[in-house]
Point group: C2
Chain length 363, copies 2
């Protein structure tokens, strides 16, 4: 079976590493000449709107999936004429737009920060009057890793904020005094079977994920599964979906969803019985899902800007290096390390050891 | 770092799957147009004696390793002029020839079945008179999966046996009434650091490995490590080496070594903290070795001739499919399944479930 992937970055690369042992082969459509997934499959180098090459991809593969949600709607619609596409066009339409996404949360009764649609500076002024400050202005689409957003603390921040984000459709979100950030990675099969990984504690810095630690018997697991399950059902979703929450007052408030394998699920390559990458492929190809149970105690640390010397990082006990094969660049995710340990104390020690290697290189 | 691999079969494929996350890339030299490792790297399609293409490989890569031991000595010597080669020419010279191999065992004080060099039918007759029947006549080189050998039970079997095996250099081995077959996979780094995986119980049928189950606290572990350590030191070995033993009277008799990653170590992809494939690459590239400790209770079952329907095999709890992407053919190893379970009873149940799927397809 040949899988087409829109995007050829590290997520595509890790999908191919998971799918090759299942007998799958891969084609990646990505305009970048150095797309790092290309080492593991065919690279169709073309823009995401290039219909000739989209058609070539559709003709070559059994189905198409995505490694990022900002794929143009026209691309998805075009491909869907020729080949099955998972997750669906509708799932992508909702997930890539914060207004649609948050409106869906509200409709499904999932708590989320107060929010308002902002299509102009006037809208923003009105929204600020309603929601109050501090608040966060975010572009409705294309934001990631803290990009495309601005924290508004005072009226001075509000002035011109809409223009500063490019005068594109935005939403304003009320500031949430959260005590933690967690995510739930879920997978839903074509037949509706659904599995959830354990809730993961995430630590961000400057909007970029740094550390993910899957939990054991988290008290909010059931609540999170309930919320995520509502979204999966609503969208008739197929594949892996990641749902990010704020922990607030012992409950959860929905932040956002990603209709794809997710950075906060990378620990699952070593730390779960079946990884998010394999489970995504199982789901989209109609295979039975694999176990999402943890194997040992694990954690994932992102390598930002550069990968420390491999001889130092893999010398750490139980450390697994994932080098994405990308050029090093400040602020860029170029790899991650997974720790899989026998118990929590060993895990804590290993986290400290990895952090000591990557802290000096922080960018 | 770019690694050259002589041979592009499933072992090369699994090396690439292990090395890509370490940031390595791969080139495979293999004459087969459908070499299954080619999906994961460059494929230099050439015969193993083709010096132009060997030179091309040497120029492109940082070092060369092997996925099989029957590489011509001239190939190794030629490559060694231009690029580091691990394991060494001397290790391959010994390991690919049963006479040299068994003579080394004897020299190192490692028990092994009685054996004699057989270069003619006359030699064979003399050897049978000394060693007795039953005995096994094996070609000194190129044997695998039970090929290139003949069991001699009576004088009638002895007659013409040398010619039947092609009138090539052979050894005669005394028959060993063994109670089990075990193997020890070891890895030695460039700096001499050595690690051993747990002893693995192997079950063969018709000379082909069917089932490998790594042990826990095997009473012969220390003895096996002692024997294997002697060989590693003697050869100044670098990389993974597999050592197969017969269990006899509560002790071990050396059968053979393989100077490479080995089928009886495939369980380590999921079942050990660091797999044999990653450890081989760590060793040959001069990186520190990874832990050989078990993760859970695991077993490996070979898929011979064909891979059962993926939807059935991966529906088995904790089952990991490794499809080699090779054409199905009777008697050919085309994949394996690894089970990684929480405990032995779960493992036993899972083994039975996989066997029920593959038994009807036995070839």
């Amino acid at each position: 079976m040949k899988i087409g992937v829109i995007g050829g970055g590290q997520l595509g690369r890790m999908l191919a590493l998971a799918g090759t042992p299942l007998g799958m082969s891969f084609a990646f459509l990505d305009p970048a000449p150095d797309a790092c997934a290309a080492a593991l499959g065919e690279h169709i180098r073309a823009d995401y709107g290039d219909q000739d090459h989209l058609r070539q991809l559709a003709d070559e593969v059994d189905l198409v999936t995505f490694e990022f949600e900002s794929v143009p709607a026209e691309t998805v619609a075009f491909l869907s004429q020729f080949v099955p596409v998972y997750p669906s066009a509708e799932s992508l339409r909702i997930a890539r737009d914060r207004w649609f996404e948050k409106s869906m949360f509200r409709e499904l009764g999932i708590p989320t920060p107060t929010f308002a649609n902002v299509l102009s500076q006037d809208d923003l002024d009105t929204a600020v009057a309603e929601i109050g400050l501090p608040a966060v202005l975010k572009t409705r689409t294309l934001g990631y890793d803290g990009k495309g957003q601005k924290v508004l603390r005072s009226q001075a921040d509000v002035q011109d904020a809409f223009a500063e984000l490019g005068s594109v459709p935005c939403i304003l979100e009320g500031f949430v005094a959260f005590t933690g950030e967690v995510s739930l990675v879920a997978v839903r099969a074509r037949d509706g079977q659904t599995r959830f990984y354990p809730l993961v504690h995430n630590t961000h810095e400057n909007g970029i994920l740094r550390l993910s630690v899957p939990s054991t018997d988290h008290p909010l697991q059931t609540m999170a599964e309930d919320y995520v399950g509502r979204v999966l059902e609503k969208l008739h979703y197929v594949g892996v979906l990641a749902f990010e929450f704020f922990e607030v007052d012992g409950g959860l408030k929905a932040n956002e969803i990603a209709p794809r394998v997710h950075n906060s699920g990378h620990w699952s390559i070593e730390g779960a019985q079946c990884s998010q990458f394999e489970n995504h492929l199982r789901a989209v190809t109609g295979l039975p899902l694999g176990s999402t149970a943890k194997v040992g105690e694990s954690a994932m640390l992102n390598l930002i800007g550069e990968v420390p010397a491999p001889n130092r990082i893999i010398a750490i006990d139980d450390c697994h290096l994932h080098h994405y094969g990308k050029a090093f660049k400040a602020g860029r995710k170029v790899g991650h390390a997974t720790l899989r340990c026998a118990d929590r104390p060993a895990l804590e020690r290993a986290i400290t050891a990895v952090q000591a290697l990557i802290e000096p290189n922080r960018s």
